[in-house]
C-alpha cells in the first residue's frame, strides 16, 4: 500500500513537472501539438511504438472546433506514463493461468497480456498488418486510411498476429478516453480542455449553492486536484 502510494505520488509529481516543462517549451497555441510531442520523451514506448500511439490517439480524438484533440491534451503522454505505473504491469488484474480461450465474451477478459504487453505485441502486430495491407506502417498512412484501419481493428475485421484486434483496440480506446478526461496531474487533459469542452467542473466537488437552483446553467469552469483553474 505504502509502496503504491509513494510510487503514485512520485509519478503524479513527475507528470505535473513534465507537463509544465512541455507547455513552457511549446507555448499554449493550438498548433503546438507537434512540438509538445517532440518535447516528450516516452519512458516505455519505443520510437516506432510512440509513432503508432501518437497517430492513433490523433485519430481517436482528433482536434476540432468543439474542443482539443487527444494529442494536444497530452493523451499520448498519459498512456506512456500509465505503462510505468502499477496498472501498466497488470497489478490490478488477476493474471494467473490457465488462460482459456474460445469462451463466451460475457465471461470477460481472459488474455494473458498486461497493458504493457498488450501494447508491445499489439502495436507490432498492427503495424505488420498495416504493412501487409498498405505497404506502410500505420503512422505513415493518410488519415482516411488510418481511420479505416482503426475500424478494422475495432470490429475484428483483420486478424493480428498477437492479441485479438478487438482487445487491442479496446485497450487503446479505453486508455485514450481515460487520458482525455482524467485529472491533468496524470499528464493528459492538458489545461482541462476536455472538461471545458463538455462542461464538467472537475474537482470542484461542492454544489451546496446549486441544490436549490437545479436545472440552471452552472457557470463555473473546472478546477483540478492540484488547484489549477487554468488560464
Amino acid at each position: 500500500m505504502i509502496d503504491t502510494l509513494t510510487r503514485r505520488s512520485f509519478l503524479a509529481g513527475a507528470a505535473a513537472a513534465a507537463a509544465t516543462l512541455t507547455a513552457a517549451c511549446a507555448g499554449s497555441s493550438s498548433d503546438g501539438s507537434a512540438r509538445i510531442n517532440r518535447a516528450y520523451d516516452p519512458a516505455y514506448f519505443t520510437a516506432d511504438e510512440w509513432a503508432f500511439i501518437v497517430a492513433a490517439v490523433d485519430r481517436l480524438i482528433p482536434a476540432s472546433e468543439e474542443g482539443p484533440g487527444g494529442i494536444q491534451s497530452g493523451v499520448a503522454e498519459f498512456i506512456d506514463r500509465q505503462m510505468e505505473s502499477p496498472y501498466g504491469y497488470g497489478a490490478f488484474a488477476y493474471m494467473s493461468g490457465p488462460f482459456l480461450t474460445d469462451l463466451p465474451p460475457s465471461l470477460g477478459y481472459q488474455l494473458r497480456y498486461t497493458p504493457r504487453e498488450m501494447y508491445r505485441s499489439g502495436i507490432a502486430a498492427a503495424d505488420a498488418a498495416a504493412h501487409r495491407s498498405y505497404s506502410a506502417r500505420f503512422s505513415d498512412l493518410a488519415i482516411d486510411r488510418q481511420d479505416e484501419f482503426l475500424r478494422s481493428l475495432e470490429t475484428g475485421a483483420i486478424t493480428l498476429e498477437g492479441p485479438p484486434a478487438e482487445a487491442f483496440f479496446e485497450q487503446l480506446l479505453r486508455n485514450t478516453k481515460e487520458g482525455y478526461f482524467a485529472d491533468p496531474m496524470y499528464g493528459g487533459n492538458r489545461h482541462m480542455g476536455a472538461w471545458k469542452m463538455i462542461g464538467f467542473p472537475g474537482a470542484r466537488a461542492d454544489f451546496t449553492d446549486w441544490m436549490d437552483q437545479q436545472g440552471r446553467h452552472y457557470p463555473y469552469g473546472p478546477v483540478s486536484v492540484n488547484g489549477s483553474k487554468d488560464r
Binding site: S96, L100, L107, Q110, T176, E178, I198, G199, F207
Partner: protein
C-alpha cells in the same frame, strides 16, 4: 508453525459494517475482541481528504479502494457443466477492501426490506397459489419477521443519520414518502435533500402518472447531525464523488463516520490490518470453533484463539471461508443436498437514458450516492398484483445520477460514434443534458445458482478461489422487461428529445464485463433448520454454535432493494440475542 496469539473472547473476521457493529456490541458486553481486516487501515482524515479524493481515475477507474484482484478473485461460469474462469478485471461487481469494507465506497442507499420480502415463499403461495412458484426456484422465508427487525432498521437509520421522508409512520400513510414501506416506528433522523434536476423531472412525470415518487432513503446526512453514539456527521454537499469514493465531508455514513470513533479508545478491542484469514479452526469434535488462522502482513501464519468467531467479511468471502474450513455440507446442485454455497443470487438492472435538448441543464456532476435521487416503489416486492405477470419479485425505479464523472459516467445515445470527431461532438452535446432512470430488480434463488470452491484457480496464498455458478432465468427476464417498460413510460412523460434502454433480454447471458450491482447474496443462508440453511435466525451456525456469520450471505434470495439496511438489522438482531442469551449460556440459540 503458526505463531499462537493470546486467546480472546471473540475474534471478528472482516472490519466493515457488520464488523464494526459486532465489535461495538461485544465490547459493550465487556468482551475482549480482536478484529482482523485483510486490507489496510483507512480513515477520513488520512485517506479521503479533499481535493485528493476528487480523482476519478484513481478511485473510480483503477479502484484504489477495491480488493486487489491480482491477489484474490472469484471464478465465474454460467452453467453447472461449464468450466469457470477468473474474474480478472473489475466489471459486474466491485469488492471492498480495507477498514470500513464496502461501507466506504458504497452509495449510501439505505433500505429496509418490505415485510413480504422476509416471508417471500409463504406470501406468494398464499396470494397466488403454490403453482405460481416454478419448481427450480429455491426461495424460502427468512426465519425472522419485519416486526422483529423494525427496531433494528430504525436504530441503524439513526446511526447513519439517514435523510428521507417517511411514508408509513406507525401505520399512517404520509404524503411524500414511500406508501409501500412497512410501518416504521419513527421518522427518518434527517430531512431529505432536494432532488437533483433529473430526479425533479422524474418526480413530476411519475406523479402525473399516479405513482408515488419519494426521496431515496440516503445515508448521506442532510445536516449537521449527532448519532445515538454521540458521533457527529456533516451535511452532504452533493460533490459527485460518492459511490466508489470515501466521503471527505463526514456526510456519507460509513463505519468510520458513525461507529469507529467510539471504539477507538476501547482497550478491549484490537484491530489488526493486513490480516488475511485462511481458516476457521475447530476442536477435535468439529463442533466448537477454537479461533482462526491468518497470514499477517509479513507473510507469517498466525493463530488467534477465541471463544466466539464472527464472520463479518463480504458475502462471498464468508462463504469461501466456510468452504475452506470444511464447516457444513457443501451444496450439491445435482441432488439439492447440502447447504453451504446454496442460493447464490444477484440483482437484475436496466437503465434508460433520457437525452434532452441543450437548454435542459441536467448538470450530472451534482449528485450524491443516494441523496437527491427520487424513487418509485410501486413495482417492487409484491406492491402490485403479480397474477397476470408470470414472475416473482420486482424492481425499484429510480432517477438522478450519483455524479457525472466523464470517464465512466458519460452517456451517449445509441448510434453515437465510439471515437473520432463524431464521438467528441456527441460527448459535448449530451454530457450536461442526459438524465438516467434505472431499475434495480430482485433475483430469485435457483437450484443451479450456487457457490463452491474452484478446482483449478488459486489465490496468491495457494488456496482455491470461490467459484460462482450463475446465469439469468426466465422469471428475471420477465421481471426486468416489465420494470423497464414502466420506467420507459415515465421517461416518455419526462419529454426528452430521445431515450435509449439497456436491458438483459432472454438469451443474454450474465455478462461480467458490465457493472450491474455489487448486491450479491446467499451461500450461507438463514432458515428454519440445518437442512435448509447454514445459520439460524440469530446468524448462528447450525453446525458450530460459537460461530456466527453476518452479511448478505444470509439472504435466501435477493430483493430489489439495496442490502445494507437488512444486513445491519440482522447483525443488530443477532447481537442483541448474543448479549442477552448466548453470553449467559453459550450454546444453540435455536434447536436444530
Amino acid at each position: 508453525m503458526a505463531t499462537r496469539k493470546k486467546k480472546v473472547d471473540a475474534v471478528i473476521v472482516g472490519y466493515g459494517w457488520t464488523g464494526a457493529i459486532m465489535a461495538k456490541t461485544l465490547t459493550d458486553a465487556g468482551l475482549s475482541v480482536v478484529a482482523l481486516e485483510r486490507g489496510p487501515a483507512r480513515d477520513t482524515s488520512r485517506d479521503f481528504e479533499y481535493p485528493r479524493v476528487a480523482d476519478e481515475l484513481r478511485y473510480g477507474v483503477r479502484g484504489e479502494l477495491w480488493q486487489p484482484l491480482a491477489k484474490e478473485t472469484v471464478t465465474i461460469r454460467h452453467g453447472v457443466g461449464d468450466v469457470a474462469v477468473p474474474y480478472r478485471k473489475y466489471g459486474s461487481f466491485v469488492l471492498g477492501n480495507g477498514v470500513g469494507g464496502a461501507g466506504v465506497h458504497w452509495n449510501g442507499q439505505l433500505w429496509r426490506a418490505s415485510p413480504e420480502d422476509l416471508r417471500l415463499r409463504s406470501h406468494y403461495e398464499e396470494r397466488y397459489g403454490k403453482a405460481f412458484i416454478p419448481d427450480e426456484m429455491t426461495i424460502q422465508d427468512y426465519p425472522v419477521s419485519f416486526e422483529e427487525l423494525e427496531p433494528h432498521f430504525d436504530h441503524f437509520e439513526k446511526v447513519c443519520g439517514v435523510s428521507g421522508t417517511a411514508g408509513n409512520l406507525r401505520g399512517v400513510i404520509k404524503t411524500g414518502g414511500n406508501p409501500f414501506e412497512g410501518p416504521r416506528s419513527d421518522d427518518f433522523p434527517s430531512p431529505a435533500l432536494p432532488p437533483v434536476y433529473a430526479a425533479q423531472l422524474f418526480d413530476k412525470a411519475a406523479a402525473q402518472m399516479g405513482y408515488s415518487p419519494f426521496p431515496q432513503p440516503a445515508a448521506n446526512s442532510s445536516r449537521a447531525y449527532t448519532n445515538p453514539y454521540g458521533v457527529r456527521m456533516g451535511p452532504c454537499n452533493m460533490c459527485g464523488y460518492c459511490e466508489l469514493f470515501g466521503c471527505f465531508m463526514y456526510s456519507k455514513a460509513s463505519p468510520q463516520t458513525t461507529i469507529h470513533p467510539i471504539l477507538r479508545d476501547r482497550a478491549q478491542l484490537e484491530v489488526r490490518t493486513g490480516a488475511h484469514v485462511t481458516r476457521i479452526l475447530r476442536d477435535n469434535t468439529g463442533t466448537i470453533a477454537t479461533g482462526v488462522l491468518y497470514i499477517d502482513e509479513s507473510g507469517h501464519e498466525v493463530e488467534q484463539p477465541a471463544d466466539i468467531v464472527v464472520l463479518c467479511a463480504f458475502q462471498m468471502h464468508n462463504v469461501r471461508l466456510l468452504l475452506l474450513s470444511g464447516i457444513g455440507e457443501p451444496y450439491d446442485p445435482s441432488t439439492g443436498n447440502g447447504v453451504v454455497g446454496k442460493n447464490y443470487a444477484y440483482q437484475m438492472c436496466s437503465l434508460t437514458n433520457a437525452f434532452f435538448d441543450e437548454d435542459v441543464n441536467i448538470n450530472p456532476f451534482i449528485g450524491a450516492g443516494a441523496a437527491g435521487l427520487r424513487v418509485v416503489d410501486d413495482f417492487n416486492s409484491d406492491h402490485f398484483d403479480h397474477s397476470d405477470q408470470g414472475f416473482v419479485g420486482g424492481s425499484l425505479i429510480f432517477a438522478g445520477g450519483t455524479g457525472g464523472r466523464p470517464i465512466e459516467q458519460m452517456m451517449l445515445p445509441p448510434g453515437a460514434p465510439a471515437w473520432g470527431v463524431g464521438w467528441k461532438s456527441a460527448a459535448r452535446k449530451h454530457y450536461l443534458h442526459t438524465a438516467p432512470v434505472g431499475t434495480q430488480g430482485s433475483v430469485m434463488s435457483y437450484r443451479d445458482s450456487y457457490l463452491s470452491l474452484d478446482p483449478t484457480y488459486r489465490d496468491s496464498y495457494g488456496h482455491p478461489l470461490l467459484r460462482i455458478t450463475f446465469d439469468w432465468h426466465d422469471n428475471e427476464y420477465r421481471m426486468a422487461a416489465f420494470s423497464s417498460q414502466r420506467a420507459e413510460e415515465i421517461v416518455r412523460a419526462m419529454e426528452p428529445e430521445t431515450y435509449s434502454t439497456f436491458l438483459m433480454k432472454p438469451g443474454d447471458h450474465y455478462d461480467v464485463r458490465i457493472y450491474q450491482s455489487t448486491h450479491t447474496t446467499g451461500g450461507a443462508i438463514m432458515g428454519k433448520s440445518r437442512f435448509d440453511s447454514v445459520i439460524n435466525r440469530y446468524s448462528q451456525s447450525w453446525d458450530v454454535p460459537n460461530l456466527f456469520v453476518m452479511g448478505a450471505s444470509a439472504f435466501p434470495q435477493n430483493m430489489g432493494y439495496n442490502p445494507t439496511g437488512l444486513v445491519a438489522a440482522l447483525a443488530y438482531f443477532a447481537s442483541d440475542q448474543i448479549r442477552t442469551a448466548y453470553l449467559r449460556s453459550p450454546g444453540r440459540l435455536v434447536d436444530a
